[in-house]
Symmetry: C2
């Protein structure tokens, strides 16, 4: 496992985030391109709504990049729904080469790693990366029927109703994907589905320490280190782990799951999760901060919990993974 | 969409196929590396058995390539189970960078496309591609509880209990991955889950005609054109479609779903399907034929049906996809 440097650093030339009501009511509201307070996006089922949300995110990102879908060499997409139907129905009208991914909440980073590697190496001149999740599709698939109104434990995270899209290009004015580090599966034996942060934090630790060891960089070299969605539980764990390993991330570290909702006014327990959580924070909020120049060098580490309801019922623990993507305003330099 | 030529054509330096009872009893029996007539591979659930089958396929392929897992730059893997747990639990003990894929029955080709592109372009010097399916995990997830003994319609295919693994390397004596053509989603409105061949055939047609048009090649230029698992229904459809488009594939065309079982002695209706079907036929039978020299140039087009039980319940049609991989005994030439 090693950090892969992208010598031709692909540019993020288009980006868009589409969200539901709670995400629109949260602190990052101004940075999203589109929301639907009914969360159905004109569809008659939640599953169709999630696909539509992902399709809209792609089209908004294409419009911002002043491209038509035809100019995309490939689409990399994934979601949480069984058989990843959110992505396949979203992509079917684009008629572009399609790579379906499953990385749970790490999907947007997994797609960004693959997409930027293939653009960097000249296979595609442009590609799209997409990921989505929807509270209502996830809740009934992974937990309880929505009508049941199940109570959530304090350590549980809320699946974000959100989709994010990146358009990566060999040409462009940045920000640039400079380095990537694909993640390794880490399973520390956590079996509590209501504490995904704890299951995923060791994977984030694994990827982050490898990155710092190999590059010789330190947390303070970055404007922001952003984990996908470890939430409150995982945030505490990763901070402790990193501190014990000699890396003090205080002041530069945040988590997409903690940024998406307001802890003070929105009762979201341990924070947000789902493929759409970090996808919308990255493709909405963080890209806007790059535009404004308030960040210039960001480490994005999206974590995924690779279990299923069936694997947990069978007593298996939760495998975690964390893919790292470094995005910078500058193409070169350190 | 265009054919991508691999100038440094990665070599398939290791390959292995692990199968269940029916596959072991079929006509390709001698070409598989390992079987378990109990189909549990020492595990206590079918889901764990599928993971174990995939893990064994990886280890067998690594042993044949005289490699340890540590030498792999990445693993590309997928399966049919919800949240792709077959692959994540199979890969967790290998501790290598992991890319989870979802391409339904096209997964082995999707992984081969991504893996060979990244080896070709020097990102990884070696990587593994894995895919699996298990009749018992698929049956209860997609259709009926096993104990119910549901009757199958004549057009339905049987999910193969099988796993296949490729080890791709920048160095090696072949066979080589010479060209790839990633597939586009094609949805012709088929809604019959018991006729997946019909849903996937248009995608195979789309990919194959694009390949022949763009390269100027003809079916007879190849020793074998092999679709993933269109089965009997899809086989008939694709032959008709291709003939109408001016491409006569008779004599060089076969389908993994039709090769895996004996139509005469095994009552498998329209044939085999599942990610493991074409994975085991390619990584078992076809690689053995390359060894013996009875094929030297093969077009492998794996098809996938990207729906879910939920999308069909909601009245959606079945999106199909087909990824093409050309494997040749020669690295260069036409």
């Amino acid at each position: 496992m090693s950090v892969i440097r992208l010598e031709n650093a692909p540019s993020v030339i288009g980006y868009a985030a589409v969200v539901g009501r709670r995400e629109h009511e949260g602190p990052l509201s101004d940075d999203f391109d589109l929301h639907d307070e009914k969360e159905k996006f004109g569809m008659d089922t939640w599953e169709k709504a999630e696909s539509e949300m992902q399709r809209l995110a792609l089209n908004l990102a294409l419009a911002k990049a002043k491209l038509t879908g035809k100019e995309l060499g490939a689409i990399f997409a994934g979601d949480l729904m069984n058989q990843c139907i959110g992505s396949s129905y979203a992509a079917e009208c684009s008629h572009r080469p399609f790579f379906g991914l499953y990385g749970a909440c790490s999907t947007f980073a997994e797609g960004s790693v693959l997409g930027s590697l293939l653009v960097d190496r000249g296979v595609f001149s442009k590609c799209a990366v997409l990921a989505s999740s929807h509270f209502c599709t996830a809740e009934r698939q992974f937990r309880y029927p929505l009508e049941y109104g199940g109570q959530r434990t304090p350590t549980s995270q809320r699946t974000a109703t959100a989709a994010g899209a990146f358009i990566l290009s060999a040409q462009g004015a940045g920000p640039y994907v400079r380095e990537v580090l694909p993640g390794t599966i880490v399973d520390m034996g956590i079996t509590d589905i209501n504490n995904m942060g704890a299951a995923m934090a060791p994977a984030a630790y694994d990827t982050l320490t490898k990155y710092f060891e190999e590059t010789g960089k330190k947390p303070e070299d970055f404007d922001l280190i952003l984990t996908g969605d470890l939430g409150k539980e995982g945030h505490g764990i990763i901070c402790d782990f990193m501190k014990n390993a000699g890396y003090d991330m205080s002041g530069v570290y945040n988590d997409c799951g903690l940024m998406l909702y307001s802890a003070a006014t929105q009762d979201m327990h341990a924070g947000g999760s789902g493929c759409g959580c970090s996808a919308s924070v990255m493709a909405g909020h963080i890209m806007k901060r790059f535009e404004k120049g308030t960040v210039r060098d960001v480490l994005y580490i999206a974590t995924g919990a690779l279990m299923s309801p069936a694997s947990l019922q069978q007593g298996r623990s939760i495998p975690g993974i964390a893919h790292l993507v470094r995005i910078s305003a500058e193409r070169g330099g350190e």
